[in-house]
């Protein structure tokens, strides 16, 4: 019983920290994009607009929840929940430091891939049940995009799994710390690049945010949603960004450890707690997300699928072959 209580408290702590981060990621996004476009970003609510996410939350919470009259009512209402639940569930297998993980799963990496593939249903259903052509096209686009890039994502992560010899995220970090470079991003640079591109497409973010391309589809699968259900989709998108950032930090950047050669040069860095290194790596990846959104234009849909199938998947397979050969004959 007491174990269950501790588990509950830990889960609450993790979820509330991540949700606070999500709220302030929207703020950071607006600020950084504002600066990139020589604007100030939000400035009105609180000092430097720091209370803006809270104001947004209050506004969206008290809006009316509109359901279209011809929509499939039950599916329309449950779709945002499917997306959010199957995204948040990933937080349970993420090891935040050596001894802080909610569920130390043997197949943690596969668990994340599995729940990512289930959360696609929320988006397809949102598009279908809205009974609107823009929503529907957005949903179908999103599904084909996520399906195509999931393969590339899996292939890039397979290189990590081969090198580490485990599917457990904690074992991957430990195995990574034992290597000369201390992070797989250096020997597996091809896989790392494939992973970053696939991660951007997997979370429907710029430059691959075609499911919600305003110029063509109004807002894609979100068109008919309003008020809190709309916010749930946004929440899920940002949590998914964080999941990808966690995954990147754990599988390619060494998680909560820093490379041994860095410690050899600066011994005092060994005293810094692991969670800080982890946070720095995650923030860097989130900043990359926002930076790319502020910089790059959107791809056309056929270009997107061409990149996925003709460039990323062959490159991912090449990466696996190289890593497997290295693992077998060199290491």
């Amino acid at each position: 019983m007491i174990e269950l209580l501790i588990m509950l408290i830990k889960t609450t702590v993790v979820f509330s920290i991540v949700l606070t981060h999500v709220a302030y990621t929207t703020y950071a996004e607006r600020k950084i994009i504002g600066r990139a476009q020589a604007r100030m970003g939000p400035m009105e609510v609180g000092p430097h607009g720091l209370l803006q996410p809270i104001a947004d939350f209050i506004k969206i919470f008290f809006k009316e929840d509109v359901v279209p009259i011809n929509a499939d009512k039950f599916l329309f209402q449950i779709a945002p929940l499917i997306v959010l639940v199957f995204t948040m569930i990933n937080l349970t297998v993420i090891p935040f430091s050596f001894d802080f993980v909610l569920a130390d799963l043997n197949v943690g990496l596969l668990f994340i891939l599995a729940s990512a593939s289930v959360s696609v249903y929320g988006i397809i259903l949102a598009g279908w049940s809205s009974n609107s052509k823009y929503s529907f096209l957005g949903g179908v686009r999103s599904a084909s995009q996520v399906l195509s890039y999931e393969i590339a994502l899996g292939l890039s992560l397979a290189g990590v799994v081969i090198a580490a010899g485990s599917l457990n995220l904690r074992d991957i970090v430990i195995a990574q710390h034992e290597t000369i470079f201390g992070m797989y991003a250096i020997p597996q640079i091809i896989g790392f690049i494939v992973f970053i591109i696939a991660a951007f497409a997997e979370t429907n973010r710029a430059p691959f945010d075609l499911p919600e391309a305003e110029t063509e589809l109004v807002a894609g699968y979100l068109t008919e949603y309003s008020a809190f259900r709309y916010a749930l989709f946004f929440l899920a998108e940002y949590v998914a960004m964080y999941i990808m950032a966690f995954l990147c930090a754990l599988c390619f950047l060494g998680g909560w450890t820093i490379p041994k050669f860095v410690i050899a040069i600066f011994p005092f860095l060994d005293k810094v707690p692991g969670i800080i290194w982890f946070a720095i790596k995650v923030y860097a990846f989130i900043f990359l997300y926002i930076w790319v959104r502020a910089t790059l234009p959107r791809y056309r849909f056929d270009q997107l699928l061409n990149i996925g199938w003709k460039v990323l998947i062959p490159t991912g397979i090449l990466n696996i072959i190289v890593i497997a050969t290295l693992k077998r004959f060199v290491l």
Binding site: L75, L110, A114, S117, V118, L125, W128, L147, L167, D302
Partner: protein
Amino acid sequence: MIYLIFAYFCLSTVGISIMALTRKNPVHAVLWLLLLFLHIAVIYLFLNAEFLAMVQVIVYAGAILVMFLFTIFLIGAKELPKHKRYTSLFEGRLLVGLSLTATFIAVFSSAEAKYKGKYTIGYIQEVGNVKSVGMMLFNEYSLALLILGVILLIPMIAVVVLAWRRGDDTP
């Protein structure tokens, strides 16, 4: 407690399959199937086959079922054949039912509740579920795996050939 949960999952797989079969709306039927696949994944977890459970979700729920949905969306439920010959042919039902029964009988009469070779519970606990599945697949069944790969490659080539657009309008 654990038996109660197991019983729930076993019974609900049956109930959900009946629900999936009887839905009029094909999209709803696919969603019941999704629920069914997730329940089957949990049953795999009860059997300590966590790798199979995850693969079940990734492959069946994540890829195959999405393809079903795509087919339903793109063809459209209204354009599905309405003729009795395609929807409820008595001979067809009989054939499918009998062949399924025959398969079940063949499988269950030859199944034995014992472990073959070195793959005992102790061995699997020692090396881990994923590793033992991999060892078995790539060492003992490597030829079967290769043949499966070739079989899966053929439809891929077929699809490319079918979808190949001759002419210069390819992007």
